[in-house]
Assembly symmetry: none
Homo-oligomer: 272 residues x 2
């Protein structure tokens, strides 16, 4: 019993009490206490192969589970605004996938506040200055925005002119005198159209329908667009997950991959 205690890394008194407790529950003695040590009773002898089998099954499962957790395979679900998915992240997703071909990345392109509590997604990209406290993650960049216009459009419609014919490409209705216009250098321009989606807004600006106040990360890759103001930090970009998922291997490597791109993303979101 003293040697068993050493194997189990507990005190011999603990082993003694555990055996006594088990015997009480079973209503049977498992060992005779002899001066030379514990000796199995017939009931104890019967229990021996059973307990060995139980132990084997538990160990096998434990190994299986441990193996699975470290396996880099399976699906991960990432939610992010579609504009970010299309304009910024697809090259990175592709690179990650080539690095870990057994991992399937599913992008849920949405602005909706997905509930990570409900496993609607495993990882969320969030543009916020106040990330939810129940999620864990890291800020990977700060999103900057600026006023953009097509180079030909701003030549024909000088927004600085006294009675400028330039117009805004705006967001959804109703949006009278929004702050981003009031605080811009061209607060008196009229609205050309209202579009809910930054991708559509980028298309509109590119097609010379007006000026847009949009993220640098999505606008700077269009050579015909020119920036009319200096970039301004608007909100942080977070990569978040639920704390219960922090040890899941494939999620961890994905997050670490994204974190390894933080320098590039910082530059990208700040504008060049």
């Amino acid at each position: 019993m003293r040697m068993a205690a050493k194997d189990l890394r507990v005190s011999h008194s603990t082993v003694s009490r555990r055996i006594e407790a088990l015997e009480g529950k079973l209503g049977a003695r498992l060992f005779d206490r002899l001066p030379e040590g514990y000796k199995l009773t017939p009931a104890g002898i019967d229990l021996l192969p059973i307990s060995q089998e139980l132990r084997s099954q538990v160990d096998a499962y434990s190994l299986k589970v441990l193996g699975r957790d470290t396996e880099l395979e399976g699906q991960i679900c990432v939610t992010m605004p579609d504009v970010i998915a299309v304009e910024v992240m697809m090259p990175y997703i592709a690179e990650f996938q080539s690095l870990y071909p057994a991992i399937t990345v599913r992008i849920d392109d949405s602005y909706e506040v997905y509930d990570l509590n409900r496993r609607e997604a495993d990882i969320a990209f969030r543009f916020t200055n106040e990330p939810p406290e129940h999620l864990i993650g890291r800020r990977v960049a700060t999103a900057y925005e600026a006023v953009y216009g097509h180079k030909d459009y701003v030549t024909q419609h000088d927004p600085n002119a006294q009675t400028s014919t330039a117009r805004w490409v705006g967001w959804g209705l109703p949006e009278d005198n929004p702050e981003w216009i009031t605080n811009s250098p061209f607060p008196n321009l009229k609205m050309a159209c209202h579009l809910n989606n930054p991708l559509l807004q980028k298309q509109a600006v590119t097609r010379q329908m007006g000026l847009g106040y949009l993220p640098c990360a999505i606008m700077d890759n269009e050579p015909d667009l020119v920036r009319l103001t200096d970039p301004t930090p608007v909100r942080d970009v977070w990569v978040l997950t639920h704390r219960d998922l922090r040890d899941t291997a494939r999620l961890r490597v994905f997050r670490e991959f994204i974190f390894s791109k933080a320098a590039e993303l910082t530059v990208r979101f700040r504008g060049t």
Copy 2:
């Protein structure tokens, strides 16, 4: 997780912590915590048959060991409806204990169908006309019921009157036009209250809140109560145990003791 805690007879917070501790040891999540409850993960699904098999092996061994036990000492666990425990059986339990002071009797007063396979109880008192086939035992009495009322109450509220003001003490909601009222001599009386527990119903009848249709075994010992109908046999009283435990000495002597009281119990349950 809350229902599991009830089954295990521990606090739900204990179950929560045990699961968390097990997940920590395994390094794997066994459950997703959703707002509507715990949901097995793939690792948890894999563990389910293993843990069920482990449990079966432990229970089988436990039954085998207990079945072999020849000593007249230790604990026996008896489950019976609390109303029967309180009103009928306590004197017999006390007598048994004085006969076998080395045996500890634990009464689980419950109506729930205990799982004798799982050692949730060793002996069960059951009021049924169809005892489970996998249990062995003997019918020790037949329970008779009758309509009772307080003698003063039935003087003031003649239930036979044309427009009687007497009322029923009934069971839990919803219970519209139950058979036991429809088939009684006073089917048109109104309900005074709804009570789930025969002990409470007895109290209500004794306190002149109404009439009750209740077992003679619990009502005849109250001198102020009068019987308004002849007793009717309702169901049999069985004393049951698991077949693997039929040779366990202390369970055997307990059952034999109860069987030796069958004549008394028969009279008691029939009403006097």
